[in-house]
């Protein structure tokens, strides 16, 4: 196999070590903690960038450690993994800044930042996993490291939400465990990309492989919040805004979606999955979830809850794209991994800013908020346009490719689902935009924090502006080499190469 490199391991360690050190610090060592945090975040982005550059030059990176018998811990860099790792590390950096601002003066920040770092370790570990076992290890690690963040506030409500969260994710993890061991026993230690192994077994073990596929899919669908396993996501919104932003827009839900992408493309292979008719149920559940999430979002007055149901809906775009066979829909699914991430994180940042600055958490309170917080709401509005699918924002690109892919595959009903979803997106997001910009502001509103001339604290404002601009840039510069779209196209091209 390829030469061993510790670079993939370093990418993980760049957040694992700061997390551990932060845990050992005292609560009041704020500057040192912030320094460690940012150092880790910057190092991670740098390392991912370095590996990306190396990978583009044709270098291969893998780190393999044999645990016991044929149980192997393997980190391996491929394009899809790097794509996800880049997303995680960049958004971690942004969210770390945001969290530092958001939690300023709060309690238990040491614990928060330590587990926050562990989460990103888990999420990049998922990205760089070279085989199914390693993926599973990090998948469970993610569950455990997010739990303290969900219950961070320590209120009864948070603790209850944590319980729901755990039952869903541990249950899903157990199901996945069953599937992973089953796959291991049936097909041996499969590395991602070795689809020929399943291909070779298809004639003899067809039933077994079908069952295992659905077992694993069920396990992954919990984190990917596919109906009816989405229940944990809206409940977890009690967590602080940075947690909702990074974890419930990016890390946790994406771990599930990314897992589905891996399962279909890199374990079974798209051709085999199609041949075995594994994808139709996935398509149906995904399509239903898209509509269901949107409809539920319509009726939420709680800002974060509405965003949460919107996440449920948007995530299934990825699953839907995976379920449709074709180069274009695959591109759409892969690129939506990133696009949905940056758009949704913008929205959560915005919601967090408003809650932090004015104490508003209900949509009905948002009248005229755009005039008070123009930059925040500006970024939010960009993200809304993206979610609806208006050009030139990132979300348009995803939907365009998904739609084209559906037409290419002859699945016209998918186009209908996409259109319905866009209409629903508009129906539940545009009222917020309308209220924010066009309704008369509430005169009594007094900012809870003094922020000088800025509309809110700089550390809260910068991240939302950055991710808002990123969502715009990802759409505008989609055709440029190095954009998420161009990388997604390359990934898809490789998959469909004969």
């Amino acid at each position: 196999m390829e030469t061993t490199s510790i670079l993939p391991l370093l990418i993980l360690i760049s957040s694992l070590i700061p997390g551990t050190l932060i845990m050992l610090l005292r609560e009041d060592q704020v500057p040192l903690r912030t320094f460690l945090n940012l150092l880790g975040a910057v190092a991670k982005v740098g390392l991912v960038g370095w590996v990306f550059a190396g990978y583009m030059r044709g270098e291969e990176y893998s780190f393999i450690f044999n645990l016991a018998l044929d149980l192997t811990f393997a980190l391996r860099v491929d394009q899809l993994g790097l794509f996800f790792a880049a997303l995680s590390s960049v958004l971690w950096l942004v969210t770390t800044l945001y969290a530092i601002g958001y939690l300023e003066g709060g309690q238990h920040r040491r614990r928060f930042f330590a587990f926050f770092s562990f989460c990103v370790t888990a999420s990049t570990g998922i990205a760089l996993s070279g085989n199914v076992v390693t993926f599973f290890i990090f998948y469970e690690f993610l569950t455990l490291s997010t739990y303290p963040l969900v219950v961070h506030r320590g209120t009864d409500k948070a603790v209850e939400a944590g319980r729901t969260y755990l039952w869903y994710t541990i249950g899903g993890g157990t199901v996945l465990f069953l599937g992973v061991v089953g796959l291991f026993v049936t097909a041996g230690p499969i590395y991602f990309g070795q689809t020929e192994i399943i291909e070779g077994l298809i004639s003899t073990h067809s039933t077994q492989l079908t069952i295992l596929f659905f077992i694993m899919l069920t396990g992954l669908a919990v984190k990917a919040a596919i109906f009816p396993l989405h229940g944990w996501l809206p409940v977890s919104m009690v967590a602080p805004a940075p947690v909702s932003a990074l974890l419930h827009a990016v890390a946790v839900v994406k771990a599930g979606a990314f897992g589905i992408v891996r399962l279909v493309y890199d374990v079974y292979g798209i051709r085999i999955a199609d041949q075995m008719n594994l994808l139709t149920p996935l398509a149906i559940f995904a399509a239903f979830t898209i509509v269901y999430g949107s409809v539920r979002a319509l009726f939420q007055d709680d800002f974060k809850k509405r965003l949460a149901f919107s996440t449920v809906s948007q995530l299934s775009y990825i699953a839907l794209g995976v379920a449709i066979v074709g180069f274009l829909s695959t591109t759409g699914a892969v690129v939506h991994l990133v696009h949905q991430g940056i758009m949704k994180i913008t929205m959560f940042f915005a919601a967090g800013n408003i809650a932090e600055t004015y104490g508003y958490s209900k949509i009905s309170q948002l009248n005229g908020i755009g005039r008070r917080m123009p930059l925040t709401m500006g970024a939010f509005t960009i993200a809304v346009f993206g979610m609806i699918g208006l050009p030139p924002v990132a979300g348009f690109v995803s939907k365009w490719y998904l739609g084209l892919g559906a037409v290419e595959a002859g699945s016209y009903w998918v186009v209908l689902v996409l259109l319905a979803s866009s209409a629903l997106n508009a129906a539940y997001f545009l009222p917020i935009v309308y209220r924010a910009w066009f309704c008369e502001p509430d005169q009594e509103a007094v900012p809870l924090l003094s922020s000088g001339r800025l509309e809110t604290k700089a550390l809260l404002l910068i991240p939302v502006v950055v991710t808002g601009l990123l969502s715009l840039a990802a759409g505008v510069f989609a055709a440029v080499a190095g954009s998420p779209l161009s990388i997604a196209r390359e990934i898809a091209e490789k998959l469909y190469m004969p």
Binding site: N66, L67, A68, L69, L71, F73, H108, R111, F136, I137, E140, F141, T143, L144, Y147, P148, V151, G154, T155, D156, A158, V159, G162, R163, L166, I170, G171, G173, T174, F177, L178, V181, G182, F184, V185
Partner: protein, 511 residues
């Protein structure tokens, strides 16, 4: 047998703790503790040296005093024994350090329980002796040494619940030993030898052998609290002092399991049938579900942890159906034997670390609160974050989430189950994990929950919390050397072997 290299280590491993225990009896309270702690550290270090010796030279033996068996005693340290001895040493050292600080903190009110030290050293000598024994009778003697010192430790607090639980524990232990010894008598009567290696060759299938197997298994199941003989364990383990609970749960019950494993695999192969394996597996499966469920229903921390031991020991019994092959299957073609053995060994080690850590944490909480009712664990995270972390980490290993030692055990067990085609055990493993998650997360949920009323957390020495945390981390770190550990075990004779049950043997085994 005797052409194996000799080494003095096996003798030291038994002799040293006995000597130090006896020595400590001559000292007064504080002196006992000093000698005891020094003795524990010395024994632990000696055990690690011995482990190193076996990794270097392979199986070593020692003939005590030059008296050859059958009247003399031969100690044999093979890789499997070495791993158990090493585990006992590492866990033992940390429990000793904890005990030293724990008892000193309570010296003023309780006198510091100086008798803990000689009893613990005797117990340690018994455990080492058990792992090293090479004949059936020696195993009986070491079982008794372990049993009596364990009971004495369990009743050390002198409290009523502990005394009653201790008496029951003692009676059960004696019953188990006597059942075991009855089997030994039958074996000796039919073969004229007690040597394990020799018995493996000369033992013939027959009614006597089957009956001996039955009573020996019965005795050992009673001792290791296998279902349905688990009833004595929760009261005895939960009423003891914290370091004692840790010793009893982490180490003592493993002794009986070790004998059961060795005897089934090395001696009684001729009488074992596929059905026997299934039966003991069933006992394990029931223990897993029942124990986990009971743990889930308890309201005091130590009872939760004690019931959890019943369940975790059940997993150990579940490897037996995998090791005994169906008629017509040969050991060469059974690729699930190595996973099953790995599962067993890792379950033993991971449980030892995690459960010791858990009981030590419970001790810390009792020290801080004065009791261990779980509703008082609210806001534990805010008051004692290291202990909360230790409970979380140890709990994760008990559940079997990656990358803990418990995960290694569950993974290998499930893999062995699928490879052997005995898929009916799989739901048990998964349900057990979920139930374990249930009680572990019930504790964590409380630990994070806001305090209802002001619960007075008294300050606790930091070093106690660190001991618990180190043991909890140990249950994860043991995964790192897994590959080397398994290779080391495979260099021994037993590991990776199975029993090919034949039809003739089956006929005898079923009657």
């Amino acid at each position: 047998m005797t052409d194996l290299p000799t080494s003095p280590f096996p003798a030291f491993l038994v002799g040293l703790p006995v000597l130090l225990a006896t020595l400590s009896l001559f000292f007064r309270a504080r002196g006992k503790a000093v000698v005891g702690l020094a003795g524990s550290l010395l024994t632990g270090v000696m055990a690690l040296f011995a482990l190193f010796e076996v990794t270097r030279r392979g199986t070593v033996i020692h003939i005590l005093g030059g008296w050859e068996p059958p009247l003399g005693i031969l100690l044999r340290m093979d890789p499997l024994a070495a791993v158990f001895i090493g585990m006992t040493a590492v866990v033992g050292i940390f429990i000793s350090l904890y005990a030293w600080r724990y008892f000193r903190a309570q010296e003023a009110t309780t006198g510091g329980f100086p008798l803990f030290w000689p009893l613990w050293l005797f117990l340690w000598a018994g455990l080492n002796g058990l792992f090293l024994s090479n004949d059936l009778f020696n195993l009986f003697v070491t079982l008794e040494v372990i049993g009596i010192s364990a009971v004495a430790l369990a009743v050390l607090s002198g409290k009523k619940t502990a005394l009653v639980a201790g008496l029951r524990y003692l009676l059960v232990a004696i019953t188990g030993s006597m059942a075991y010894l009855f089997g030994v008598a039958l074996i000796y009567g039919s073969t004229g030898t007690l040597d394990l290696g020799l018995l493996g060759q000369v033992l013939e299938p027959g009614t006597t052998t089957t009956f001996a197997l039955l009573v020996i298994t019965l005795g050992l199941m009673i001792k290791m609290a296998g279902f349905p003989f688990h009833f004595w364990l929760p009261p005895a383990h939960s009423s003891a002092l914290a370091p004692v609970s840790a010793l009893l749960s982490a180490l003592v019950v493993k002794g009986a399991f070790y004998i059961l494993l060795r005897l089934w695999m090395e001696v009684f192969g001729v009488s074992l049938t596929y059905a026997a394996g299934q039966l003991i597996g069933l006992a394990g499966a029931i223990a897993v579900i029942w124990g986990s469920w009971q743990a889930f229903m308890q309201t005091s921390l130590k009872l939760i942890v004690a019931h959890s031991s019943v369940a975790q020991l059940g997993y150990l019994l579940m490897i037996f159906p995998l090791l005994i092959l169906a008629p017509g299957v040969t050991a060469d073609s059974a690729d699930w034997l190595s996973p099953a053995w790995t599962a067993g060994v890792y379950q033993v080690i991971a449980h030892a670390f995690a459960k010791a850590s858990f009981f030590l944490s419970a001790g810390i909480i009792i020290m801080a609160l004065g009791h261990d009712r779980i509703e008082s664990l609210r806001d534990l995270v805010g008051h004692m974050r290291i202990t909360a972390l230790a409970i979380a980490i140890a709990g994760v290993s008990l559940i079997g989430l990656p990358p803990s030692g418990g995960f290694m055990a569950k993974w290998m067990l499930l893999k062995g189950i699928f490879l052997s085609g005995q898929w009916w055990w799989a739901p048990v493993v998964l349900t057990g994990s979920l139930l374990t998650a249930g009680y572990v997360f019930m504790l964590l949920r409380l630990a994070f929950a806001p305090a209802r009323e002001k619960e007075a957390f008294r300050p606790v020495p930091r070093s106690l919390e660190v001991c618990a945390l180190v043991l909890a981390l140990g249950s994860f770190l043991i995964v790192l050397p897994a590959d080397n550990l398994i290779q080391f075990l495979q260099s021994g004779e037993v590991f990776g072997t199975g029993i090919e049950s034949i039809m003739e043997g089956g006929a005898h085994g079923n009657d």
